[in-house]
């Protein structure tokens, strides 16, 4: 905090991995859209990436302890914003998720994720015991439940679900006791049918069509099937850039965004998937390494919150692309087209960078 960290202290490996993944994304967005009405989308994505990079560096300069100090205020701002979006938000694709910001629409829940990561890091950092008490766990859970409920209300099941692994990983690292974990898992399992009851019809449909894809050839089941066809037909070597018929002829749903991995897998084959998933694995492991080297518990929790959120994104999105999970609307970080999601990732990485820059500082 006393003297500003130098450029040498940035995690250039992490930045390299980040840029590599972004490049794959831009290439595939170009391939998926260049021949259609959406042509030029890759340029928009590049602009978002540029903004993201700038924000990442800006955020990395601001000491994360200052940010953590304001965690409760951020939490309140987040909750208020989520309520606001429900009241005055912009409805697109049947969900109220957006508020206008600088001529674009921002998805408030993306920012809410970031706030929750910060808030949880502060919360767990303050738990000084080696074992997480049930009381603290319940407290964390309840405070997470408020924004989670508001996001579910929009509705945005995918984003809401991302909060869960952030909590789980945080609690795990904070010394979650096995018996508590077991009890919570059991309760969760028992409450699952109740939870399903509260799902929106389209969400239920996604789940039923995931379980019985043949019953719904044109809906969500169709999307998953088309995605699997794209992936499978790519084979080991892929059909080549711009040559994926599933991609180019529009059989893959939202091929530039949520299903970008499907388009990538079709055109680049298993070898391309190996590259992409290898990069994601490197990214996540690099985050864990940064957490290990964090100066304090707060920094470690901050980095691992980011890792949990990104890891969950990758898992759920990629599993969906290969038909192993239902359609939830979670984008693939850094590859999927999307302003808010891209900014979220860069801001999150900015926090990680922040922690890293201050690992030797006292």
């Amino acid at each position: 905090m006393k003297d500003a960290p130098g450029t040498r202290d940035y995690d250039w490996w992490l930045i390299a991995i980040l840029m590599a993944i972004c490049t794959l994304g831009v290439i595939e967005i170009y391939s998926a859209t260049h021949g259609s009405a959406l042509a030029g989308m890759h340029n928009k994505q590049i602009r978002w990436l540029a903004v993201g990079f700038v924000l990442m560096f800006v955020l990395s300069r601001l000491d994360y302890h200052l940010i953590l100090d304001q965690a409760w205020i951020l939490y309140l701002i987040g909750v208020v914003a989520l309520i606001a979006v429900l009241l005055v938000g912009h409805t697109r694709f049947g969900a109220k998720r957006w508020i206008p910001f600088l001529g674009e629409f921002l998805q408030v829940s993306e920012m809410a994720k970031l706030i929750i990561i910060i808030w949880l890091a502060r919360f767990f950092a303050e738990v000084r015991t080696d074992e997480l008490s049930l009381q603290d766990l319940m407290k964390a859970g309840l405070l997470i439940a408020v924004p989670l409920g508001l996001i579910l209300k929009q509705p945005d099941l995918g984003t809401a679900l991302v909060l869960v692994p952030v909590l789980v990983v945080g609690a795990f690292l904070a010394g979650l006791q096995w018996k508590h974990a077991a009890v919570i898992a059991l309760i969760g399992l028992l409450l699952l049918p109740v939870g399903l009851h509260f799902l929106k019809p389209y969400q239920k449909e996604r789940i039923t069509s995931f379980l019985h894809p043949e019953g719904d050839p044109k809906g969500a089941g169709y999307q998953l099937l088309q995605s699997k066809i794209a992936v499978g037909s790519g084979g080991f070597w892929g059909k080549g850039f711009g040559n994926g018929s599933q991609n180019q002829l529009g059989y893959i749903p939202v091929r530039y965004s949520d299903f970008i991995m499907s388009a990538w897998a079709e055109e680049q084959g298993f070898k391309g998937v190996l590259l992409a998933l290898g990069l994601y694995m490197a990214l996540l492991l690099r985050l864990v390494q940064n957490a290990q080297r964090a100066k304090d518990r707060a920094g470690m929790f901050l980095v691992m919150g980011v890792a949990a959120a990104l890891g969950f994104h990758v898992l759920v999105n990629v599993a969906m692309v290969i038909g192993a999970m239902p359609v939830t609307g979670i984008p693939l970080p850094l590859m999927s087209y999307g302003g808010s999601a891209t900014l979220f990732v860069f801001l999150a990485i900015g926090l990680v960078m922040n922690v890293r820059l201050r690992r030797f500082v006292n």
Partner: protein
């Protein structure tokens, strides 16, 4: 502790990526072929290019069965939601009942979705206009050029040619994937028999479509391979004479060249017009045809199994002369009736219009000429059923001739073994008496009679009847008949026409026209008289004639059902055909005959046929296939 747990998180990350990679490996390496096929199905829409069926020509190369181009409306079903949405508009635009459309979709629900179905086989001008004007907002309709069969109008030769129709489910199952629902194939007659030759191989027009079914590119078209044309042994001129001569009466005509087995003419009346089912026959029409008491679908030439009546006496005469039972100089006195085994049997002469009730004393020659029943009752009694059965079967009765047409019937020659097997009883000797004059349980088909009489006149050489010209491996049977026997039997048949026999009126100047008449009772005369229903059970009139008297060039077998006396109804038909044969032969030898003089009329436009100019242009590459040659024959 957090450090230890962070290590755990690292393993979880590696494990997670590993599991995802396994998922990709399964899709992209293990199941890749399956998904590649699916991707291809998505991408490529195949529209069949129907191969034209081969034509049928007569022996002089005249076209008897041809094709004409027509357009069917195809419904693309790749997108069920889009189909459901547009169905009412399509039904209205094409003038179809919506229920009919949904039924058709239901029937096709087990087919792959990328395979379009034909919803209207014959497009009208209005349909074409509708499809063209709605190409953008209803992108589900396509025009398919098909080749429809055209037959000579009025049921000409229709039993021999047969007809085509949509393949049945059984045919699809039996075809081992060759047929698909909606395909056309021969259903009867030569169309069925030579379907493999006539049917070409459909081609495929392949286009690349995007996810909303819009055509974005084309792949090379797989050309259709047209079916092979077949030349028949049928002589159009003779067929025409036979058709006209039989006229509206129920019956059949079979003309063979006994030297080769070639079928020169084959007629069966009543005859349905196969043009009526060339497009699509409704269930109701089909039911009507099947249930019609006149049995128009029966090819009487090969399927009518009827008592041969007195024509059978030629088989009896051959048996008698060969077995010498009774000896050839056997004579008997015909008083018009005789009693055998305690029952009285009458000779036909007993009812003759001339009032003469007796044939007097008859020998074999006179018995054939006058068709004396009493003589043959005696011969039959002496020969016994087993000898009669042996000769009849050896000469080819009671079994199929092997003509190259489907569903030929074998007829029946009774024997002691047969009654034992079928009725579990002994043969009554009295039954032999009826069999001796071609009555009782004996049944034959017209083609069998042509073959047997022609074969005897050939000296015991029986050629397998066939309709495919230059057919390979034509079967031949030889049955040893002594020269004196052939001489006496053929002399007898010559006498029937030329020496004051039963068919003396049929005599043709300059032609050794020989033959045998038959008047087959449908029921016993005494019973008929008792019932007082003479009109309903009129006798079947048979005549089998040939020329010349030895080694004939042509044999004609005719049955006129309910025609009465053999030489009066059937005889003139035989005479007409034989006369036409010789007229043509003489013209040919004088160089006067050319096939062009008498061309089959295949010009009559079938109902509701149009050739939409727009559609023709649109599918230009399809039309470049060998066009059916009827263009030359149509009046321009």
């Amino acid at each position: 502790m957090p450090q230890a747990r962070l290590a755990v998180v690292s393993y979880v990350i590696v494990g997670m990526i590993g599991v995802l990679l396994i998922g990709f490996w399964k899709l992209q390496v293990i199941d890749s072929d399956k998904y590649s096929q699916w991707a291809e199905r998505n991408r490529v829409r195949s529209i069949p290019v129907i191969a034209p069926r081969g034509r049928m020509l007569d022996r002089d190369g005249r076209v008897l069965v041809d094709n004409y181009p027509s357009f069917s409306v195809l419904l693309l079903r790749d997108d069920p939601a889009l189909v459901a949405k547009n169905l009412p508009a399509i039904a209205e635009g094409l003038g179809l009942a919506i229920n009919d459309l949904t039924d058709q979709l239901d029937n096709a629900r087990n087919l792959p979705k990328f395979q379009p179905i034909i919803i209207k086989p014959e497009a009208t001008k209005g349909d074409v206009a509708f499809i063209e004007s709605h190409r953008s907002d209803i992108p589900l309709l396509e025009m398919l050029m098909v080749h429809r069969r055209r037959y000579i109008a009025g049921g000409f030769m229709s039993h021999a040619s047969g007809y085509v129709g949509e393949v049945s489910e059984q045919q699809i199952e039996a075809s081992d994937g060759k047929f698909r629902p909606g395909d056309f194939a021969g259903k009867s007659g030569l169309e069925h028999q030579y379907n493999d030759l006539l049917q070409g191989t459909d081609g495929m027009r392949r286009v690349i479509v995007n996810s909303v079914g819009k055509e974005v590119d084309r792949l090379p078209t797989q050309e259709a391979i047209p079916g092979k044309q077949i030349q028949l042994t049928i002589d159009y001129d003779l067929q025409q004479v036979a058709e006209q001569s039989l006229g509206p009466r129920d019956g059949a005509v079979v003309a063979l060249d006994p030297r080769t087995g070639e079928v020169l003419a084959m007629v069966s009346h009543p005859a349905p017009d196969p043009n009526d089912f060339a497009v699509r026959i409704t269930g109701k029409q089909w039911k009507q045809l099947n249930e019609d008491p006149g049995k128009p679908l029966l090819n009487r030439a090969i399927q009518a199994q009827l008592a041969p009546g007195s024509v059978f006496k030629i088989i009896m005469a051959t048996a008698m002369l060969e077995d010498k039972i009774p000896p050839e100089n056997f004579t008997t006195f015909c008083p018009g009736y005789a009693t055998f085994y305690g029952r009285q049997f009458k000779c036909w002469v007993y009812w003759s219009k001339t009032g003469v009730r007796s044939h007097g004393t008859v020998d074999l020659r006179r018995a054939i000429e006058q068709s004396c029943d009493i003589f043959f009752y005696n011969v039959g009694m002496r020969l016994g059923i087993d000898r009669i059965s042996y000769y009849a079967k050896s000469l080819g009765l009671g079994r199929r001739t092997g003509v190259d047409l489907p569903s030929e019937e074998p007829g029946l020659i009774p024997s002691e073994e047969w009654v034992q097997r079928v009725y579990h009883r002994k043969w009554y000797a009295g039954e032999t008496i009826s069999v001796a004059i071609g009555q009782g349980a004996v049944t034959v088909t017209p083609i069998q009679m042509a073959r047997v009489i022609g074969g005897i006149a050939m000296g015991g050489i029986f050629k397998q009847p066939h309709l495919l010209k230059d057919a390979p491996n034509v079967g031949e049977e030889r049955f040893q008949i002594s020269e004196p026997t052939i001489q006496k039997v053929t002399d007898g048949m010559y006498g029937v026409v030329n020496e004051g026999g039963t068919a003396a009126k049929l005599k043709l100047a300059g032609i050794e026209f020989s033959g045998k008449s038959g008047t087959a009772q449908v029921i016993n005369y005494d019973v008929r008289t008792r019932l007082g229903k003479a009109g309903e059970f009129k006798d079947n009139s048979w005549f089998v004639g040939y020329a010349p008297r030895r080694t004939p060039e042509i044999v004609v077998s005719v049955i006129v059902q309910g025609g009465g006396h053999g030489s009066e109804a059937a005889g003139p038909v035989v005479r007409d055909v034989i006369k036409a044969y010789y007229d043509k032969k003489n013209k040919k030898s004088d160089g006067q005959f050319t096939a062009d003089q008498n061309q089959p009329d295949l010009t009559e436009p079938p109902p509701a046929v149009i050739q939409p100019a727009a559609a023709l242009k649109q599918q230009g590459e399809i039309l470049e296939q060998p066009a059916p040659a009827e263009a030359d024959q149509r009046p321009q």
